[in-house]
């Protein structure tokens, strides 16, 4: 593995780590904040529940697509046409 490859892999690993850490942080934050959030309602549901049951999966979808786009940019910037 040459230096360019090593740099690309470091960026890829950082991106994967940041992506999963962000997704997990969202889930943990909602777990912690659910009780106080549930005092309000949103779309007829307790807010904390609505954010966990509807918002979190949708946020993860956005995170997955952002990750795929960003990783594609990293690969292209290091001259791989794998995407």
């Amino acid at each position: 593995m040459d230096e360019s490859e090593r740099r690309r892999w470091r960026k890829s690993a950082l991106l994967a780590g940041a992506t999963l850490a962000g997704a997990l942080a969202l889930a943990l934050a909602l777990t912690v904040l659910r009780a106080p959030l549930d005092r309000s309602t949103f779309l007829g549901l307790p807010l904390g529940f609505a954010l966990a049951a509807i918002g979190l999966p949708l946020a993860w979808v956005a995170i997955a697509f952002r990750f795929a786009r960003r990783q594609g940019e990293i690969d292209r910037s290091h001259s791989h046409s794998g995407d």
């Binding site: 593995m1 992506t19 779309l43 007829g44 609505a50 999966p57 997955a64 697509f65 990750f67 990783q71």
Partner: protein, 613 residues
């Protein structure tokens, strides 16, 4: 995007658009025929039979004799299409009808399972899919064999894949046959044969190519079957076309009194709570990310980047389904509360009796089709002619989706849409499991371990024979034991995740991992979870020495933790992998197209090499 990818994408897109339009037209024509007097049962049977016929045609159109197409779909499946099929196949009946039932049942585990499934698809996208695609492997066992060299780990993984696929396959086929029998008025044995024939038609002639093509079509049928009835209720009751954002109003309008609890088989989460919830979500996530039938779908795209994008599309489609499940459950609960609670026990709607005959509804503790018994029971509890209370009404969670149109008083064509959709989901799941089990035998154990130099044609023939035998056996099991195999449905993900997740993730992300560590990690992770599950199930309480008190369904938290530790510890203690293994890791991590290097020889680590020298 490469030109060939664009061409294939356009072709598959056209086929999918044509299938969707034809399906919509059939539903429209049948609805008009219904208005002209076609009987209700004929409407449902016509839609289901036509969908079944169309799926057979799609499956047959994917026939191939080429090994690359049979095991890898020709690596020419567009990413969105792959995402559609992968989501529906991996969620299958438990993740769709079972999850809706769990929401109806009010199980705390429903949210944990929802987030577990979604998190699993995200993990797959980030940690596994592109690297698996790059490997060129057709199965998880082949991937592990490539990464670690030698035949032992490939054989072990293939046997475990087979064992983990068989119980859910038998259970899914039994549940699908039950739905087909109800929709088409067939005898159970005939329905089991029909389902087996459908599974074989979707896989036998075209292998992975046909499996993926049919799964895409099945996904379209399922999405029609879930979204249109859900949207119809949402618009009718709340003026909001998206049921996922309207069900809160249904929940708010429903009385809080609990109905009689009935056991569900598709996703039996009842009673799982407390400390088990986080563990359940983690188990579902790890099991989904390392599910052999799902991981293998990563291989069918053009490029590693395409596999990553297909993973994101899988998550998107799955999220749409997962978000619809609580909506359907809430609408059904509201309709039952509105129509049955406080109703006269002598004037119940006809669907109560129809589903009561199938054992899916109980009124005052009795099957309502047994009129004398249930009336006597109701007279004893609420008085003659008295009003039913919520606690007098029991509905199996498994019935919520199939009975949704009846419960919510939608036109019968909606029942037909739902019946076709849930059958499609069951068939998609069963086909994926059957093909995964067959490739374990034909591609891995025969073609990879026993006869690596066998001609490609022979590997395909062996896989086809295995497929026919496995599906026939599963159909026999469905006829003989019914859905009993689904009782193991929640344990299999825990065992599978414990065996595969640690070594699959580390095989890609930790280059220091060697074969000894992988074998030790697999054995210890699976062993500890199997011990915990067996001890808890047979003794009735968890064994001593385990932190927490989690359900066996969530026991992967023990296996995966130990598996990671043992994998790392043994790898560090037994020397670095050799140069061949390093080349494989570098190859997996480079996204461009290139030839696959030779797998490491049996004596892999430098320590081992030195010892041999």
């Amino acid at each position: 995007m490469a030109p060939s990818e664009q061409g294939a994408g356009r072709h598959v897109g056209r086929v999918l658009a044509l299938f969707s339009a034809a399906f919509a037209l059939v539903v429209l024509v049948v609805a008009i025929l219904g208005q002209m007097g076609l009987p209700d049962r004929a409407i449902i049977a016509l839609v289901v039979a036509l969908v079944g016929l169309a799926l057979v045609v799609v499956g047959f159109s994917g026939r191939t004799l080429a090994e690359d197409e049979f095991f890898l779909g020709g690596r020419a499946i567009p990413v969105r299409f792959n995402g559609l099929g992968s989501a529906v196949s991996s969620l299958s009946l438990p993740g769709i009808a079972g999850l809706t039932g769990a929401w109806y049942d009010g199980a705390d585990g429903a949210l944990a399972a929802t987030l577990g499934y979604a998190g699993g698809f995200l993990l797959l996208t980030v940690l596994v899919a592109p690297y698996f695609q790059k490997s060129g492997a057709a199965t998880l066992a082949e991937f592990l064999g490539l990464r670690f060299g030698g035949r032992a780990i490939r054989a072990t993984a293939a046997v475990l894949t087979l064992l983990f696929a068989l119980p859910p396959l038998a259970g899914t086929m039994a549940a699908t046959a039950g739905l087909a029998a109800a929709a088409l008025s067939l005898a159970p044995a005939t329905a089991a044969v029909a389902v087996a024939a459908m599974v074989l038609a979707s896989s036998l002639f075209g292998g992975m190519r046909a499996v993926v093509l049919v799964a895409g079509a099945e996904a379209v049928v399922l999405l029609f079957g879930l979204f249109i009835p859900g949207a119809a209720i949402s618009v009718r009751e709340y003026g909001i076309p998206l049921p996922q954002f309207a069900y809160g109003y249904a929940l708010a309008a429903t009385g809080a009194e609990a109905s009689e609890a009935m056991a569900g088989h598709l996703l039996p989460l009842h009673g799982i709570g407390g400390a088990s919830l986080f563990a359940l979500g983690a188990t579902f996530a790890l099991a989904t990310a390392s599910l052999p039938s799902l991981v293998a779908r990563s291989a069918v795209t053009f490029t590693a980047g395409g596999a990553r994008l297909a993973g994101a599309w899988t998550l998107a489609v799955a999220a749409a389904i997962l978000l619809t499940a609580p909506a359907l459950a809430a609408f059904a609960r509201y309709a039952i509360w509105r129509d049955l609670v406080d109703a006269d026990a002598d004037s119940l709607p006809s669907w109560v009796f129809a589903y009561g005959r199938q054992g899916l509804v109980r009124i005052c503790g009795f099957d309502p089709s047994n009129i004398d018994a249930f009336r006597a029971a109701c007279a004893a509890t609420i008085g003659p002619g008295g009003a039913l209370r919520a606690g007098d009404i029991g509905l199996s969670p498994d019935a919520i989706v199939p009975a949704f149109a009846d419960i919510t008083d939608l036109p019968v064509v909606m029942s037909a849409l739902i019946a076709a959709g849930v059958l499609a989901a069951g068939l998609a799941g069963a086909t994926a499991l059957a093909f995964t089990a067959a490739t374990s035998l034909g591609h891995d154990l025969y073609g990879g371990v026993l006869a690596p130099k066998a001609l490609p044609g022979r590997r395909i023939i062996l896989t086809r024979l295995a497929l026919a035998a496995i599906v026939t056996g599963a159909a026999w099991s469905a006829g003989r034991f019914g859905t009993a195999a689904l009782d193991f449905g929640l344990i299999v993900p825990a065992l599978s995740a414990s065996a595969f997740a640690p070594i699959l993730f580390l095989a890609i992300w930790w280059r220091r991992l060697n074969r000894a560590g992988a074998i030790a990690g697999l054995a210890s992770g699976l062993g500890i979870t199997a011990y915990y599950v067996a001890a808890t199930m047979f003794r009735g309480s968890p064994p001593a020495g385990f932190p927490g008190d989690v359900s066996p369904a969530a026991a992967a938290v023990y296996g995966v933790r130990l598996g990671l530790l043992v994998t790392a510890g043994v790898s560090l203690a037994t020397g670095a992998p050799g140069a061949a293994a390093e080349r494989i890791v570098d190859f997996l991590r480079r996204p461009g197209r290139e030839s696959r290097p030779v797998p490491p020889p049996p004596a892999q680590s430098t320590t081992e090499s030195a010892r041999h020298a």
